[in-house]
């Protein structure tokens, strides 16, 4: 099976570690990339600077509350770019604000998921994301 390139955009190292541990158990061959803020995420996607050899991700997990360039701005950039807009973007956030949910879907987020409380629930959410996006869904180019 072809390796799946996953880009996690997340500024909180604790969340990065939780996601890394959860994806380690995956039955799918996941190549796990991390961008610590919005700027870095766009550099990764446009293969700029130190990311010149980066893989184009098959799926993006995007936090909303990021320093400087917000998650919503990154989302708008990705979905406004002809070559990047095909990549599914999953919003992964603690925000439960209706306003955030609506705004993200308006910006063409592929889905909006709340970060659950506790590792067990987080693990379950990650397992669901894997099953659906890597198991059921057909992604472009795979």
């Amino acid at each position: 099976m072809k390796e799946i390139n996953l880009l996690l955009v997340e500024d909180n190292p604790g969340d990065v570690l939780l996601a890394r541990i959860a994806f380690e158990k995956s039955r799918f061959p996941v190549n796990f990339h991390v961008a610590l803020d919005g700027e870095e995420a766009l550099n990764f996607l446009y293969k700029k600077g130190k990311f010149s050899g980066a893989d184009t991700p098959d799926l993006i997990l995007l936090d909303l509350n990021l320093p400087a360039k917000s998650g919503a701005e990154v989302l708008a950039d990705v979905k406004g770019d002809e070559s990047l807009k095909v990549i599914p973007v999953i919003i992964l956030t603690t925000s439960q604000a209706e306003w955030d949910i609506i705004q993200c879907y308006k910006l063409h987020a592929n889905c909006f998921v709340n970060k659950p409380f506790g590792f067990d629930s987080f693990d379950k959410v990650v397992a669901c994301i894997e099953e659906f996006w890597f198991g059921i869904v057909r992604l472009p180019g795979n």
């Binding site: 909180n12 604790g14 969340d15 939780l18 541990i21 509350n65 603690t94 925000s95 439960q96 209706e98 970060k115 409380f117 506790g118 590792f119 067990d120 987080f122």
Partner: protein, 375 residues
């Protein structure tokens, strides 16, 4: 003369007939008025006097050498707004006088009845002072209201942002403690695992607190009004409470319910919290029996939620609606102490009141009124 007026009254007299000036001065003195005056007749000196003599009141003839009483009034309004202005004239007709009063002139005195001038001055000064005082009071009140509104808004924003940002680090604490337990639990002794248990439990409780606090602050922030089918709302609330209802074997009667203009999400929260409490605070081993009813009253609807639970001691009548206030240990009845605060806030936002009737051990009935809202 008004006893509260202690200093001599500063009267600006706008008059050019020496005879009339004398008569007027005579009447003022006769009336026992303590006053100082300045007499002017040209527009320029009149304007100057308004500025540096700073009169408490202006007495003006209607016919003047280079302008008239009406123009003089508008000049006073411009330079010394709020100063009472009385026209003293022998020629002014009734119709003219009415127009001037409509335009804001305080009063007028016909020269034939000059003896009324002191009474009219006293009344004008009294009214002007009352008017000024009321205006000052209104301004003060409006300022307080603005300040209160701003501080409330800041507090709500603070609660919202704080509770939202507090969730992040807490999620880290909870998640990594769980992970620690999962991965290293078998390497730790019983005591260490117990410590972890209490820490996880504390984090989970903190999370519920923050969630409820978020809900509480949201009650003020978000606000939608539409026609709400209360029966459907109660149906949704019972659905959300299904696990607790099933587990306790609760029986719930719902009377005929109205449709009314309200915030639908808040109505759901309202009924869910009250029914949830009725299920939670049940007597051990006795399935809850809960009755929800609604009757029309003068201003809207009176609702009641009755249960057969443990009841509430009346000495806590006020306390139970206070934020974070709980009457029981967590071990007995789990909760954050925010539920009824939210309920009270929702009822009050819908122009209603909430109270209860209860005796310990004999169940409780919560009553609340709701007024249909306007969009």
């Amino acid at each position: 003369m008004d006893a509260e007026w202690k200093d001599p009254v500063r009267i600006l007299i706008l008059e050019h007939e020496p005879g009339d000036i004398e008569l007027l001065q005579f009447e003022l003195k006769k009336g026992g008025l303590q006053y100082t005056s300045r007499v002017v007749q040209q527009r320029k000196e009149y304007e100057e006097a308004l500025r540096d003599f700073r009169p408490d009141i202006v007495l003006s003839d209607f016919v003047l050498p280079d302008f008239d009483g009406a123009a003089a009034f508008y000049v006073a309004k411009e330079i010394a707004p709020g100063t009472p202005f009385i026209i003293v004239s022998g020629t002014i007709g009734e119709e003219n006088a009415v127009d001037l009063i409509k335009a804001g002139v305080t009063d007028y005195v016909i020269k034939d009845k000059l003896f009324t001038v002191v009474t009219k001055i006293a009344r004008a000064l009294k009214e002007s002072r009352e008017h000024r005082e009321k205006k000052e009071q209104d301004e003060k009140l409006a300022k307080y209201a603005r300040e209160l509104e701003r501080s409330n808004r800041e507090l709500e924003e603070f609660a919202y942002v704080a509770s939202h940002d507090l969730q992040e680090p807490l999620r880290m604490v909870g998640s990594f403690l769980q992970l620690l337990q999962q991965r290293y639990g078998d390497k730790l002794d019983k005591e260490a695992n117990e410590y972890i248990y209490y820490a996880v439990d504390g984090a989970a409780r903190m999370k519920r607190l923050i969630g409820d606090l978020l809900n509480y602050s949201r009650t003020n922030r978000e606000w939608v009004i539409e026609q709400v089918d209360i029966a459907a709302v109660i149906g949704d609330a019972l659905n959300n409470l299904a696990a607790g209802i099933r587990e306790s074997g609760a029986i719930i009667h719902v009377d005929e319910m109205p449709h009314l203009a309200a915030d639908p999400a808040q109505m759901l929260q309202l009924f869910q919290n009250l029914v949830g409490n009725a299920v939670k605070f049940r007597k051990a081993g006795i399935p809850p029996v809960i009755a929800i009813s609604a009757v029309r009253n003068d201003t809207g609807w009176l609702f009641s939620v009755q249960d057969n639970g443990i009841g509430i001691d009346n000495q806590y009548a006020e306390k139970i609606f206070v934020l974070f206030r709980k009457l029981h240990h967590n071990a007995k009845f789990e909760g954050t102490g925010i539920g009824l605060s939210i309920v009270k806030k929702i009822v009050e936002r819908h122009g209603g009141k909430i109270w209860f009737e209860s005796e310990p051990g004999k169940g409780a009935t919560f009553y609340f009124t709701l007024k249909p809202l306007h969009k």
